[in-house]
């Protein structure tokens, strides 16, 4: 049975496709994304409080490499098969090397609904995988000898809204621990699923607006938007098994690998690689990959994870 939050996404998609007048206030969308990031971070930080932090460092290194590898592979595919120019290939590749918070949130919800346990560092993976792809994408587009404003860029990426919220709330969860968090769990944990439902309703409306671009740019974008997450999923699966994660943890890492950014990366690429067409990369990441992961990917990735990492649980 399909999760109720995904039904909200489909509802938004349909309403958008039917050109309904339905529109959520921009402030609500922003509020919900802040809320989801805080809730994910708090939960992650709470979990981290219970384990040693040092053994995580090699894991973080691995997921960074994972993100870099995905970006390079996506770039090659887009150049060779899609015949994208350098700027568009680099920009789109960066989207796929990075991650989507919304997809991760749906996966968290999927696991929670089925009471499947997972490692709390998954939230750290989320924060850590957001950035490297952006840097790789810029180098692919510009080379490293060009006068990119690295200072400005570092600021944008490391102090961007998403990363700040994730790291800050993880620190709070870690410092406060389960007892300290108890008073605010009524808001941040119990309202999570309802907030996610509303958020996905808006995501559906947004995604439907990107279908137009898809119709223009033909089959390649659609194919890439499905093939790339599947390829990334295999990389993520291998990494997750190599890191000895539980099936739940592997699922989340695969979801992170397979998901494509649609907030942080577009904003950074718009400034760093302005000649790339944002409609193209967003049509792929939002219009194809996001719904694919929600509807088909997550259950599939979990099945794979159980199949290959089931013993290590």
């Amino acid at each position: 049975m399909i999760d109720v939050v995904v039904l909200f996404f489909l509802f938004g998609l349909l309403a958008g496709a039917a050109r309904s007048e339905l529109k959520l206030p921009a402030a609500l969308y922003e509020t919900l994304s802040v809320f989801l990031l805080l809730a994910i971070g708090l939960k992650g930080g709470e979990g981290l409080a219970k384990q040693a932090v040092l053994p995580l460092l090699p894991q973080l290194g691995s997921v960074i490499l994972l993100g870099v590898a995905q970006t390079l592979i996506a770039y090659s595919l887009l150049r060779a098969v899609g015949r994208f120019d350098r700027a568009n290939a680099a920009s789109t590749a960066a989207h796929y090397g990075s991650v989507s918070v919304a997809t991760f949130a749906v996966a968290l919800n999927w696991l929670a609904t089925r009471a499947i346990p997972f490692e709390s560092q998954a939230a750290v993976f989320l924060a850590v995988m957001e950035i490297p792809a952006i840097l790789v994408g810029i180098v692919l587009a510009r080379g490293i000898n060009r006068h990119t404003n690295w200072r400005r860029l570092a600021h944008e990426t490391f102090l961007g809204k998403g990363v700040t919220l994730l790291l800050g709330s993880m620190a709070i969860g870690w410092l406060a621990g389960p007892d300290g968090l108890a008073p605010i769990k009524g808001v941040f944990y119990e309202l999570f699923k309802g907030a996610l439902a509303l958020f996905l309703l808006e995501m559906g409306l947004i995604v439907s607006r990107h279908f137009g671009t898809l119709r223009q740019h033909g089959l390649f974008l659609v194919g890439f938007g499905i093939a790339m997450p599947l390829l990334s999923a295999l990389l993520g699966l291998t990494t997750g098994i190599a890191l000895g994660l539980s099936p739940g943890g592997v699922t989340l890492l695969v979801v992170l690998a397979a998901s494509a950014s649609y907030i942080a990366v577009p904003a950074a690429m718009r400034l760093a690689v302005p000649e790339a067409n944002p409609a193209l990369s967003l049509a792929a990441s939002l219009g194809i990959t996001f719904p694919f992961n929600l509807l088909v990917g997550i259950p599939l990735y979990h099945r794979l994870a159980v199949h290959f990492a089931g013993d290590s649980a």
Binding site: K23, Y29, I206, P266, A267, R270, L271, P274, E275, A279
Partner: protein, 102 residues
């Protein structure tokens, strides 16, 4: 009017919200002392841009300055942004008091 009034140029730029900080930074480096920004939505050559969703949000930036300054800013916009960004820029003449402010 009791105070000296004078003519200045009002430059209005309508462009992608993602550019707001960059442009303000550029303008400051070109001797602009003040500016006003508001949110807007719109449509143009680069499609529909309605404020609900970050990537497609527009801003409207206004700068009052001397004519030469406005022309220099326009020139800068044209060189660096017109090709790659959704952007419209136009200049008008306005009467201001306290002309030394601008």
């Amino acid at each position: 009017m009791t105070a000296p009034s004078e003519i200045r140029s009002l430059l209005t730029v309508i462009t992608e919200a993602a550019l707001e900080n960059t442009l303000l930074h550029d303008f400051e480096g070109r001797g602009v002392h003040g500016c006003t920004v508001s949110d807007a939505r719109g449509r143009g050559q680069r499609g529909v841009r309605d404020a609900a969703w970050g990537e497609a949000a527009n801003v409207r930036i206004e700068v009052i300055c001397r004519r030469e300054c406005a022309e220099a800013l326009l020139d800068h916009l044209q060189r660096h942004y017109f090709n790659n960004y959704a952007m419209v820029a136009f200049v008008q003449e306005v009467v201001v008091l306290r002309p030394n402010k601008f």
